[in-house]
Symmetry: C2
Subunit: 229 residues, 2 copies
DNA sequence: CGACCATTTGATATGGATCAAGCGATGTGG
DNA sequence: CCACATCGCTTGATCCATATCAAATGGTCG
């Protein structure tokens, strides 16, 4: 069970951006208060956004592009914890250090929010506190679902992944994957070879079609859903 | 990857307990406000506490005994999401339905708290809101760690499990396991045979000692920690 | 004592990892 | 514009960890 993934670390540190103070006008609306207080930053593909064990001073919201958060185990295996797409917020860890590393998969624009500002806000404004709670709860749900994936067979994992991506990318027709096969493998706890073979197999069963490597058409969703157990 | 676990469902429904209103004196202390508002109930070993998809109207705190929360996949595989020991709070799901089922592993005493009461409290008292957030965040962290377990080898999983239990049960010397081998297997995503064999193997390596089936002595923690990767 | 259930142990099968090679798209220098 | 290198991915062959099937063991409870 050894997977040696070469780790790229094109560092690209963000400075101590001072967010201007946010207005609270519309705290009930989805993450609105949080959105207002951020500073926008750009990251090139494969740039590091933050590293494991760094102080978790910021929250991040994806404006465009895709981000992976992951952990590298002592023996070099990499487990991708999540893919973060446009609109997703990530980086809110429990402790005051990041438990995962984050990297841009594609070129990204990301809103960076000082955590202490959010916390201060949450201490005064109950709606902000509840919003943060809701975000954490949703993340919990996502991780719970993902950990169910990890006990399934390769085919079930890949089918589930495709359905998840189709849903989250809200793509009519084709799913345009932003991530490499290696990323998918490390997300699903499989090897790149198994992911590749499974895709080939699903294609031979006419469940999917792969016209380009990163473009996948879901031809038979119910077959995929059936596999999804 | 088929695991057929016979599911026991000795039903034992709890009534609509009306918690008396809580005092807020000491909200800063560990879950104190929450503790005060509960009604205590008893569950026999293997009794169902709640089922998947039931309305999640209550929160639960283990006073004594051990609880498992789990999900049964369509094909009969059972994945145990968590073991809840004395002091743990469980049942706070994201939606308004339980995403998992909960059963008493041993005879249990459990404090049952009406969720709406907690929510009402949280809407007024920011400390309660933050406490709930903190609990959710801790749970998130636990699940994240558990999902890392699921990509490891059998030996790593079992070693990790023993260390986790030793820590949580805070047991000097021996770990007294409240759960069966089948429970352990379903928690670790292994079969009962593999769990058994792995324990035997760890014993033959003098990393542990198993004087009784449910009692395990950790003889060489650093060896276990090494395995834990 | 006898029956039952949980657990261990043994034999075999298999899904996915590993090792190795081939392929196709993209980019680069001549 | 084409040879050539490179990179990401696929395909093939083999191996191994863990599942599966089957049986023995031992602890518990009537």
């Amino acid at each position: 069970m050894l997977i040696k993934t070469p780790i790229r670390t094109i560092s690209h540190r963000h400075p101590g951006t001072q967010p201007r103070h946010a207005r609270l006008a519309d705290a009930a609306m989805q993450a609105s208060a949080i959105e207002l207080m951020g500073a926008c930053m750009s990251f090139a593909a494969n740039a590091e956004i933050y590293g494991e064990n760094e102080p978790a001073d910021y929250l991040y919201k994806v404006v465009s592009g895709t981000v992976r958060t992951y952990k590298v185990l002592v023996d070099g295996r990499r487990q991708i914890e999540a893919f973060h797409l446009r609109g997703d917020i990530f980086g809110f860890e429990t402790g005051d250090e990041h438990a995962f590393s984050a990297e841009a998969i594609t070129d990204c624009k990301i809103t960076v929010i000082k955590r202490s500002a959010v916390m201060a806000l949450a201490a005064r404004d109950i709606d902000v506190a509840r919003q943060m709670w809701a975000l954490t709860a949703r993340e919990l749900q996502r991780v719970q679902e993902h950990s169910l994936v990890l006990i399934k067979s390769a085919e079930e994992r890949v089918a589930g992944f495709l359905l998840e991506m189709a849903q989250r990318l809200a793509s009519a027709g084709a799913v345009e994957l932003p991530m490499s096969r290696q990323d998918i493998a490390d997300y699903l706890g499989l090897t790149i070879e198994t992911v590749s073979r499974t895709l080939t197999h699903l294609e031979s069963e006419a469940a999917i079609e792969v016209p380009k490597r990163r473009r996948i058409l879901l031809r038979n969703r119910s077959a995929l859903r059936r596999l999804n157990a």
